[in-house]
């Protein structure tokens, strides 16, 4: 147990340092529900914490006590909160605090309190902490490239302290390792839209479209680049409808007659936005329909809904609903 490493596992009641404190028992009542069978060390640590917390004692020993309590239950937000009060009162070296959090993070990387505490510390350390922090988050992401807290924290650091310069390249690296990593795609969108060095979405759009299309070529069944493509045109439907590259990749994938669900879906969305299909496109779609019993609908959007209903049968009711929407819009 980590706290044993810290204090040698000696009960607090046997430490001279704590002799003046009367531990405070938890007020669970006579018949508590969801009672936890606390181990002795846990119970005792929390009894002393309650006493210190009630007395609002913001001392060095209180700081040590919170460390012990956090090791036993990193989810106790009251302890983290009090620790912050003590750190402030003692004006403690916050760089060491980062090391402490790091140790807790090794086995608790998905804990809300830890990440929130880290933000609090970094806020106080300022931009000097920036590169070390970005580096640390990178190492956590190398163990789990989709850790939600790590990504949120990374975005916060970039916005609060900067460091945008290498971020797009970092996304590229991650996507090279795993093109299916949606967190990396999301980060890419974040950088492209918010980095002060890239000129914003309109400036980046053309190259990002190319990047997405390259990803689609390799894995047309990867949902990420398709949603990313759509996202690049978030507030500019007209440009979306007129983008030749998007049209071209849809056609290309449909012509392979395999892994074409997202391509058809994109085409459906374009049609709903007013896109006028070419004969070549119509023919490519018709070629997908293999039923002898039923001809494909003359309306291309309707036809696509029918095809999707069959090839993406898990979502049949969604495609039927989309088809019905077409009729109402007409």
């Amino acid at each position: 147990m980590e706290s044993s490493e810290e204090d040698g596992g000696v009960p607090l009641s046997r430490m001279a340092e704590w002799r003046d404190v009367t531990p405070l028992r938890q007020d669970d009542g006579p018949n508590p529900v969801v009672p936890i069978t606390y181990k002795e060390e846990f119970r005792e640590t929390m009894d002393y914490f309650r006493a210190i917390y009630k007395a609002d004692e913001r001392s060095p020993r209180a700081l040590r006590l919170t460390r012990r309590a956090i090791h036993l239950n990193p989810g106790n937000y009251t302890v983290w909160h009090f620790r912050r009060l003590v750190l402030e009162a003692l004006n403690t070296d916050l760089d060491e605090e980062l090391d402490f959090i790091q140790r807790i993070a090794n086995s608790n990387s998905k804990n809300y309190q830890l990440w929130h505490h880290r933000r609090w510390v970094i806020e106080r350390l300022g931009s000097n902490a920036r590169s070390k922090e970005l580096h640390l988050i990178k190492s956590i992401l190398s163990l789990d490239a989709k850790n939600y807290h790590a990504w949120s924290h990374r975005q916060w650091v970039l916005q609060a302290l900067g460091g945008w310069e290498d971020e797009l390249d970092y996304c590229r690296q991650l996507l090279e390792q795993d093109i299916f990593n949606n967190s990396a795609w999301n980060q890419r969108y974040f950088v492209v839209t918010r980095s002060p060095f890239l000129g914003g979405l309109p400036a980046m759009r053309a190259s990002e479209v190319r990047y997405s299309v390259e990803a689609i070529v390799v894995n047309p069944n990867n949902e990420c680049p398709w949603r990313y493509l759509r996202g690049l045109y978030k507030d500019d439907i007209e440009s979306l409808v007129n983008d030749r590259e998007i049209l071209s990749i849809c056609l290309k994938v449909i012509n392979t007659k395999s892994d074409y669900i997202f391509a058809l879906k994109m085409l459906l969305d374009l049609l709903c936005y007013g896109f006028q299909p070419s004969q070549e496109l119509r023919d490519a779609v018709v070629a997908l329909w293999t039923s002898d019993t039923r001809p494909l609908d003359a309306d291309l959007a309707t036809a696509i809904c029918d095809i999707l209903e069959h090839v993406d049968s898990l979502r049949a009711s969604y495609w039927i609903w989309r088809k019905n929407k077409l009729r109402i819009a007409a």
Binding site: Q26, D27, D28, G29, N31, P32, V33, V34, P35, I36, T37, Y38, K39, F42, K54, L72, N73, G75, N76, Y77, T78, H81, Y112, H116, R119, W120, A145, K146, Y148, W151, S152, Q155, W156, Q177, D178, I179, F180, N181, N182, S183, N186, Y189, N222, E223, C224, R227, Y228, R230, G231, K234, L314, R315, S317, Y318, I320, W321, N324, K325, I328, A329
Partner: protein, 445 residues
């Protein structure tokens, strides 16, 4: 010349899960019908035993949930209520007493006696008390103090902090607004700017993230959507892209993933599945088969005033429904007033997600035959997953129902009809008739 690229981490992880799940499905399909029936049975007694045991005692490993005990209460009590089973009156009393000790004198509930009040544990405590029902439970909530606690947690950004000096995110917004709505203490001060905050969290994918810029995520999407409905601002969201995102979160396993290209997890049966229950309510209150076309636009001819009043009914704590001239009021489903028109009862359209596939995943892959439900095969059961798998199952079974008074058709319930769970109120995730009792209690109607 094609080169073989080794599978990425995402692909590898996904393949492993698919293998496990498909192996279960194959075993199932190869069984004789009588065995299949058994496999599809909801193991009610075992689940209730597992849950009740947890209410009475938890082992030392639960130390890491020592700041989450109201949550454990809620997960257990709500699950038991879904199965329409009873909790020993003594245990109920003990729960009310215990939660009172978690209540802070200055408002809100902490994760245990003496702990700092926290919006999430407040949500869990209030939902637990609502689930227990009865005057004693409901009157134990100090609404005035709770309101002032919430006002203190309110942030200028429009969001809420989870606790004093705590984190701000969409989850905090939901827990605050859900509780305030349920207790009839929702006001303009609390609602101010929440919509703007949540709107800033809808991502390019269509789903909603925890904070602006983060990845679209099932839990936050549920929280964000529910909150927007509760504060009457749901049409500000791009609903068609939200729906489009969430339908694609259902995987070949039948269950839902939390984010694009991540693994299926039983708890998303509710977080993602519940979104469809919310959408269904939205559509039915507009009095027509109104379908959002995109970017918040609506295809109905109803005026802004009518839309506003129908939205209000959805979230209104009050008992009266605003009857506009433009509505076909006979087919409206008011969140508060469910008893009406029982002749209809069933939707003419199928749910937008694959309800039977999800039920199959829950029943065959999430159930622990010794009681309790889990994330996926290979993971251990826990109370959280039990709660959300069962909540998701309830949503699935009711996904064709327009009218909560009419029992679902047998075809809506996978497995024996005895699998049927109690209906929930999807905005709060409490059993519907407990919601109704609480609503009457807190609005004095």
């Amino acid at each position: 010349m094609e080169s073989f690229t080794s599978p990425t981490v995402t692909q590898r992880d996904q393949i492993l899960v698919e293998q496990q799940v498909f192996s279960i499905f194959k075993t199932f399909y190869d069984m004789p019908p009588s065995s299949q029936s058994f496999m599809l049975e909801l193991q009610r007694e075992n689940h209730v035993e597992y849950l009740t045991n947890g209410l009475k005692q938890l082992g030392p490993s639960f130390c890491v949930l020592d700041a989450n005990r109201p949550w454990i209460c809620y997960w257990i009590l709500h699950s038991i209520a879904l199965t329409d089973e009873f909790v020993d009156p003594e245990l109920e009393d003990n729960t009310i007493d215990f939660l009172s000790r978690c209540q802070d004198p200055n408002g809100g509930y902490g994760g245990g006696p003496g702990q700092l009040p926290h919006l999430a544990t407040t949500y869990a405590a209030v939902n637990s008390l609502v689930t227990l029902g009865g005057d004693k439970a409901l009157s134990s909530i100090n609404r005035e103090k709770l309101y002032s606690f919430m006002r203190q947690m309110k942030d200028a950004s429009g969001g809420f902090r989870m606790h004093d000096g705590g984190e701000i995110d969409v989850r905090a917004c939901y827990t605050a607004i859900s509780v305030a709505s349920l207790l009839n203490i929702l006001d303009d001060e609390l609602v101010q700017n929440v919509g703007n905050y949540i709107l800033s969290c809808q991502t390019y994918e269509g789903g909603i993230s925890g904070e602006p810029g983060s990845e679209a995520h099932g839990g936050y999407t549920f929280c964000g959507l529910a909150t927007m409905i509760l504060i009457n601002e749901v049409n500000r969201l791009d609903l068609s892209s939200l729906i489009d995102w969430v339908v694609f979160r259902q995987g070949v396993e039948g269950g839902f993933q939390g984010r694009t290209n991540k693994l299926v997890d039983g708890c998303y049966s509710f977080w993602q599945g519940g979104i469809f229950a919310l959408i269904k309510r939205l559509n039915s209150t507009k009095g027509e088969r109104s379908i959002p076309l995109g970017d918040g636009e609506d295809s109905t001819a109803s005026s802004d005033a009518t839309e506003e009043s129908s939205n209000k009914d959805l979230s209104q704590g009050g008992s009266h429904s605003e009857k506009g001239d433009h509505h076909d009021t006979s087919s409206r489903v008011n969140v508060d007033d469910i008893s009406h028109n029982s002749s209809k009862g069933h939707a003419k359209v199928d749910p937008l997600f694959n309800s039977l596939a999800l039920q199959q995943y829950i029943l065959l892959c999430s159930q622990d035959l010794n009681g309790g439900l889990r994330d996926k095969p290979g993971k251990s059961r826990d109370h959280y997953h039990t709660c959300y798998c069962l909540s998701g199952l309830s949503v699935c079974q009711r996904s064709w129902s327009e009218d909560e008074d009419a029992p679902p058709l047998p075809r809506a319930v996978l497995g024996p009809y005895s699998n049927l769970l109690e209906p929930i109120h999807p905005l709060y995730n409490v059993v519907l008739d407990r919601y109704q009792e609480a609503h009457e209690f807190f609005t004095g109607s």
